[in-house]
């Protein structure tokens, strides 16, 4: 479980972490679970999520000296941006994406839930299959908004875009998701 720490202390840690492994270690403890959870939501398999989480934090270790942020929020946004890039990079490769789809399909067959036609009973493998049909950047928005419960302002900072763009894009994404879920449901009939 991540330790609790006051926002002021967390900000000091961020500044120290550029040259201090102890501070970096504490930041790691504060952020590991969040990033791992994000990776699980993006990649379905915990083993793959572990690999990508590793890549994220090793990237942090490589680049921490040049990190310009001053606050814990800056650091968290930076971490999510790296995590989003790494997960996107992972699923852009077709073979890897297919592997994730296969995993979700296997889990879906094993699931006792009813079909995706009944959205109140929608299970995670079916929803993941639908999400995976979106563009990687759109998957990131869905994950940050609905799984990480972030507001549009933070999502915009992580994705380096305007808040309004995120709002409009999300509206379109949900429309596409409905269609993808319908396609999956039709396929099960």
């Amino acid at each position: 479980m991540a330790e609790s720490i006051s926002p002021g202390d967390a900000d000091k840690l961020v500044v120290r972490a550029r040259t201090d492994a102890v501070a970096l270690g504490r930041l790691y403890e504060l952020c590991y679970e969040r990033i791992f959870r994000f990776c699980v939501h993006r990649l379905f398999c915990k083993e793959i999520a572990e690999d990508v989480t590793s890549t994220v934090f090793l990237e942090v270790a490589r680049r921490i000296r040049a990190f310009p942020g001053q606050t814990e929020q800056d650091f968290a946004n930076w971490l999510y941006a790296i995590a989003a890039n790494q997960t996107n990079a992972y699923i852009r490769k077709t073979s890897r994406r297919q592997k994730l789809l296969d995993e979700a399909a296997r889990a879906m067959q094993a699931s006792t839930s009813r079909s995706s036609e009944d959205f109140s009973m929608l299970d995670w493998p079916r929803l993941y299959q639908a999400i995976l049909k979106l563009k990687p950047e759109h998957q990131t928005i869905v994950t940050l908004r609905f799984f990480e419960n972030m507001d549009f302002e933070q999502i915009a900072k992580i994705m380096n875009t305007k808040e309004a763009t995120v709002r409009v894009t999300l509206h379109r994404i949900l429309k596409k998701l409905r269609n993808h879920l319908q396609t999956i449901a039709d396929g099960e009939k």
């Binding site: 120290r16 040259t19 201090d20 492994a21 102890v22 970096l24 270690g25 790691y28 403890e29 590991y32 679970e33 791992f36 959870r37 699980v40 939501h41 915990k46 572990e50 989480t53 590793s54 934090f57 090793l58 942090v60 270790a61 490589r62 680049r63 921490i64 000296r65 959205f119 109140s120 929608l122 299970d123 995670w124 929803l127 908004r145 609905f146 799984f147 999300l170 949900l174 998701l177 409905r178 319908q182």
Partner: protein
Amino acid sequence: MFENEDDFKNIVDRLNIDTKPNPAHREKLRQRMLSMSIGSFTTRITIMKGPIPKLVAAAVIIIVAIGSIHKFVGSLDGTTVAFAQMKEAMQKMPWMHAISREYYKGTERINQHWQHFPSKKLFEITSDGSISHHDYGTGKKMYFYATEGTLTISDLKKGGFYGSGSPHNLIDAFVQYMVEENASTVQHPGKFNDLDVKVYEIEKIRPDDGMSIGSTVVAKIKYYLMADTKTKLMVAATVEYLDKSNNVISYTKTEVDYPETGPEDIYALGVPHTAKIIDKTLVAIDIKLPRPMFHGTPQPTRVSNLEKPLGRARDPFLAPVGTKNVALGKPVSSSDEEPIIGEIKMITDGDKEATDGSYVELGPLLQHITIDLQAVYEIYAIVVWHYHKQARVYYDVVVQVADDPDFTTNVKTLFNNDIDNTSGLGVGQHKHYVETNEGKLIDAKGMRARYVRLYSKGNSSDDLNHYIEVEVYGKPVEQ
């Protein structure tokens, strides 16, 4: 069908997704990340092992320790006062943090150190991921072997570079070393990261007979210590190792800063809490002695190569915590299957008295007994009582350990006083000794073995062989 964001959010909230992390992965990644973070200060890092001697590896400790000088031995052309000021300024700081980069043949190795002056604690992370904690207050050392995932706890050795009391000992030795070799110093102003500094150049010619890096002999060492002119704090240092043509063979650059806080313990530096702890802290082993049967240690005059009696009790023997007599009650076999007096099993029955009924008498000529410890142990000491009712000397005492009962595999000789090799087990280097109630303690140096064998060939009173007790002090081998 969901119609809007809220509907979709409700769906997501109802999902049951396992996002619980694996603690092992978490710890392992933490360790890797922290190890790599040290390398983040440069663009490339190559792990280098081997060619740079310990002195080079210790260079940063010398630099770090220079702030800990209690007294400056002699004078290096008036630098003493400046160093004293530097020391005073540095020791007012709670923590010193140093990052050193060692360069050799295009490769780079980065070490990171924290030193806490009040408690005399030193932490170090090396570029291969190993992490150590030297506590010069308690005299203990912890070392995390990244490749093995083990955390070894041991005592600091007395004296030497990493001796207990270091880095204070170290810097005294360093200064003495420089003075004796007529090191020369030059002071001049300089800049370091836009900071006005005073640079102290110390040059030492012919630093160490036979010292080499790789295959190149080191002819000269140059130290450049940089101190902030305002605060007097040392902020950087460079150590160069030069060959006889004044070419730099290797060099170390160190940057020093003074944070308010440092690592609370070795775990704060990335050692996983799951690391297996191997405690090699040394304590005196408890050897219960039998009653003495005579006073003093009379010397049999006819025996050559005889060691002089100590004239006092033997010093306590130190071994890792948990070391005990692992031979007690273990099976014993003998070259003489039918002892003249007693039974073979009496050798490990715990009775060390020299009274009748406590010893076993084997036949003449070379005889041996073998103890099966029934498992492989790390053996630290073997104590043997042949017969201490009289001041006797037993001849051709040879003590060996091995992995098999026939002594064909991994045989190690721990003691041998057969100086003319009449028993055919090799020429011994040890001396004869007089039997006393203390028994003979043989240092086994942590040798790993299952079987222990002791030979003898008569004694100074008769040609028979006797054993009262044999104790083997050891610990089970850590898997």
